[in-house]
């Protein structure tokens, strides 16, 4: 049974792997042509689920020779600062943008405009506690990255802000867990003593 299901999984995956392309655009080949600004100040702490982040971006005019003719869409993302990537290989940065895992959370996707872009985002409830900056990728009509902009410098040291995650705990869950635990212990102890008494009385007879 298990070998059959394994065979099924393998063949399904073999077929789907033709759809995977491991090669994507390289970050080092992108030009930083967007100017990105965000509302959090350096070191500000925001609460996920409540905190608001306002992002504004526009084309950097002081770059002659770089046309924005192939810029079609902009995706603004929340990215981990280096300090939140330490000891956490699942948040690693990679030059190959298909393999890069450092910018997991999407803030907004909008069509490209060279001026007057802004968006206010309420931080999602599944964002973990970490230190972040914001980066926007510009995509061409094929869907490949061609340019970017970010709120921090190239060393990712300035303009970083913190987000605190929700705990995920609720009073209702806590109470239910306590009740079921108590039920488990009490029914065990109850059974034990009831049976002990039963064997005692049956022995006395």
């Amino acid at each position: 049974m298990s070998t059959l299901s394994a065979f099924f999984v393998v063949s399904a995956v073999v077929l789907s792997c033709f759809a995977l392309t491991a090669y994507g655009a390289l970050f080092s080949s992108l030009h930083q042509t967007l100017v990105l600004n965000s509302s959090p100040t350096q070191g500000q702490v925001l609460q996920s689920g409540e905190g608001q982040v306002t992002v504004t971006w526009s084309l950097n005019k002081s770059n002659p020779g770089r046309t924005d003719s192939n810029y079609k869409r902009v995706k603004v993302k929340l990215c981990y600062a280096p300090i939140s990537q330490v000891d956490r290989g699942w948040r690693k940065s990679d030059d190959n943008l298909k393999k890069d895992k450092s910018c997991k959370y999407n803030i907004v996707t909008m069509p490209y405009n060279s001026l007057n872009n802004n968006f206010t985002w309420i931080i999602d409830k599944d964002v973990p506690t970490a230190t972040y900056f914001i980066r926007a990728y510009v995509y061409d009509s094929v869907g490949e990255e061609v340019a970017y902009g970010q709120t921090t410098d190239s060393h990712k040291k300035i303009n970083l802000f913190h987000i605190l995650a929700i705990t995920g705990r609720h009073v209702t869950i806590d109470i239910c867990a306590a009740c079921f635990s108590a039920f488990s212990i009490i029914s065990l102890v109850g059974f034990f003593f009831i049976e002990k008494r039963k064997t005692k009385t049956s022995h006395q007879k």
């Binding site: 049974m1 393998v10 000891d87 290989g89 409830k125 973990p128 995920g168 079921f180 635990s181 064997t199």
Partner: protein, 530 residues
């Protein structure tokens, strides 16, 4: 062949899964059927079943089998329930790789001690209460997962849930009160293998539960906490079923069990001594750490590995990870079966080679799993790795009965503990550090498996030889009787304590392989006249 009832370790007979006579049922001339008893299955004089039907729910024997293996399965589900959800938990609790690794080590370490204590608890309270106590007292620890808000709490709760793996002992003990010793091998082997499948099933169940709860509207960081309620409820439900439907003995009489438990005819310290001074014990403690141990380790790391390395969705990674553990359904019994086939042709040497081949194959494919760059190759190598490692577990317990007759129980227990220890060690060495990635850790683990399987070539029996050496030519030392009775002093032999060992020695003549026909009646041993 009657065990000294109640002697330390006698409850563990059959844990090994490969007593010399392996069958689904015991023929009547061998063991008398008690015709006065009115059970649905034929029973012996102690009312233990002589027939094993894995689909049977008949009271009390079949029902005991179902309650027993499902309880053990449930504990495996809850012990490894966190593993497929780690990608969510590590974000909620802000865990580092070290925290994730330490929690994995903790989850398998607790049961090293609890398994040792469980034997004593079963002796005192009976297997029904032993099982029920453990499973219902560990239910709160599973519910506690919903309170966890830090790395320390996470590690602590996983450690406490891990205690529940001691249901292995209560499961095997309970089987041995219900099934005749001639078939206990297959019964216990099946129960152990099917229980182990829980480690695979949980990789499938937990992501699906998480998905359903999320779709119902919960945020991710709440959904995983609620998902843990299901294993918790399973604990409570199984505990109640065990208490209400189960019984300690075929006749349901706990009091007489207590009477038997008091009669301990062999001293624990002696049994421990003979187990500890037999070098083969320690070789198998090491070996089991690299078959069962790496299986437990892989249960803990494989889902996260597929999720991160190949960017799969959580439940896709879970499905793939599940095939690893579910292979236990057939792989573990296969290992024992191949051990028996090898023994038929080549005797004990065949069993040793069979074990070495299976376990080394497991190591090779674990190494390749770490080197795989594409998803199909990774899955293929993982499946072969699982077959090798799990069959090696079955093959290990195909040899353990022959290491010692007197100390069989303790050696089985120590080997089991060695499995958990090996798991903790490999997780600590390879999957808790940030110096290398998980795939590199898998490759290193594969190399360590191959290296730590080599000592099986050192296991030598004077009467049967080893992988490379023939049995000794000495006419006295080359007998099975000499080997198994050497565990008793002359004074003990005077008391006749070694009689069972002599019977056993006669029965395992077949371990000589094709040379059985040439076996002479050994000198100085009068045939057993009953």
């Amino acid at each position: 062949m009657v065990d000294i009832e109640g002697s330390p370790g006698s409850s563990m007979h059959g844990v090994t899964g490969r007593e010399p006579v392996l069958a689904f049922s015991v023929a009547s001339p061998m063991v008398q059927t008690d015709t006065t008893a009115h059970f649905k299955v034929p029973v012996d004089s102690e009312h233990k079943a002589k027939v094993f039907k894995f689909y049977s729910f008949s009271k009390p024997h079949g029902l005991t089998f179902q309650l027993s293996w499902i309880s053990f399965f449930t504990c495996f589900v809850s012990t490894f329930a966190a593993a497929p959800l780690v990608p969510i938990i590590r974000d909620n609790l802000n865990l580092t790789k070290m925290d994730v690794g330490n929690a994995g080590v903790a989850s398998v370490s607790g049961s090293i001690l609890s398994r040792l204590a469980m034997g004593a608890i079963c002796d005192m309270l009976g297997p029904r209460y032993g099982c029920a106590f453990l499973i219902m007292l560990s239910a709160p620890t599973v519910f506690c997962m919903s309170f966890v808000s830090s790395a320390g709490g996470y590690v602590a709760v996983r450690f406490m849930i891990g205690f529940s793996l001691a249901t292995f002992v209560s499961c095997q003990y309970w089987m041995s009160t219900m099934f005749n010793s001639q078939i206990i091998g297959l019964v216990n082997g099946t129960a152990a293998g099917w229980g182990n499948m829980g480690g695979g099933a949980t990789q499938l169940i937990m992501p699906i539960l998480y998905d359903i709860i999320r779709r119902a509207g919960a945020t991710p960081f709440t959904a995983w906490r609620i998902a843990f309620f299901i294993p918790g409820w399973l604990h409570v439900i199984m505990g109640i079923l065990v208490l209400t439907l189960g019984q300690d003995l075929p006749d349901g009489n706990l009091a007489s069990l207590q009477k038997k438990g008091d009669v301990s005819k062999d001293k624990f310290s002696k049994i421990l001594w003979y187990a500890a001074t037999n070098y083969r014990t320690w070789i198998f403690v090491l070996l089991y750490g690299y078959s069962m141990g790496v299986e437990l380790t892989t249960d803990n790391v494989i889902a996260e590995y597929f999720f991160d390395r190949f960017d799969l969705k959580l439940h896709t990674a879970g499905i793939i990870a599940a095939t690893f553990g579910m292979a236990n359904l057939l792989a573990r019994p296969f290992g024992g079966w191949s051990s028996d086939i090898a023994a038929k042709h080549f005797g004990m040497r065949g069993r040793l080679w069979n074990l070495w081949i299976l376990q080394t194959l497991g190591g090779v494919f674990c190494f390749l799993l770490g080197k795989a760059n594409t998803l199909p190759m990774a899955i293929a190598w993982m499946i072969i790795f699982s077959l090798g490692a799990q069959a090696a577990c079955g093959a290990t317990f195909g040899i353990i009965p022959f290491i010692s007759r007197r100390s069989l129980g303790i050696i089985s227990g120590m080997t089991g503990a060695g499995g958990n220890f090996g798991s903790g060690l490999t997780q600590l060495l390879f999957f808790t550090t940030t110096k290398w990635s998980t795939e590199t850790g898998l490759s290193y683990m594969g190399i360590m498996i191959i290296a730590c399987t080599l000592p099986v070539s050192l296991v030598h029996f004077p009467q049967w030889g080893s992988m490379f050496l023939p049995p000794t030519k000495d006419p006295v030392k080359s007998t099975e009787e000499h080997y198994f009775t050497s565990e008793y002093t002359e004074a003990e032999k005077q008391k006749g304590m070694h009689q069972n060992s002599i019977k056993f020695a006669e029965n395992c003549r077949s371990e000589r392989g094709k040379r059985v026909g040439s076996a002479l009646t050994p000198p100085n041993v009068t045939p057993n006249r009953v």
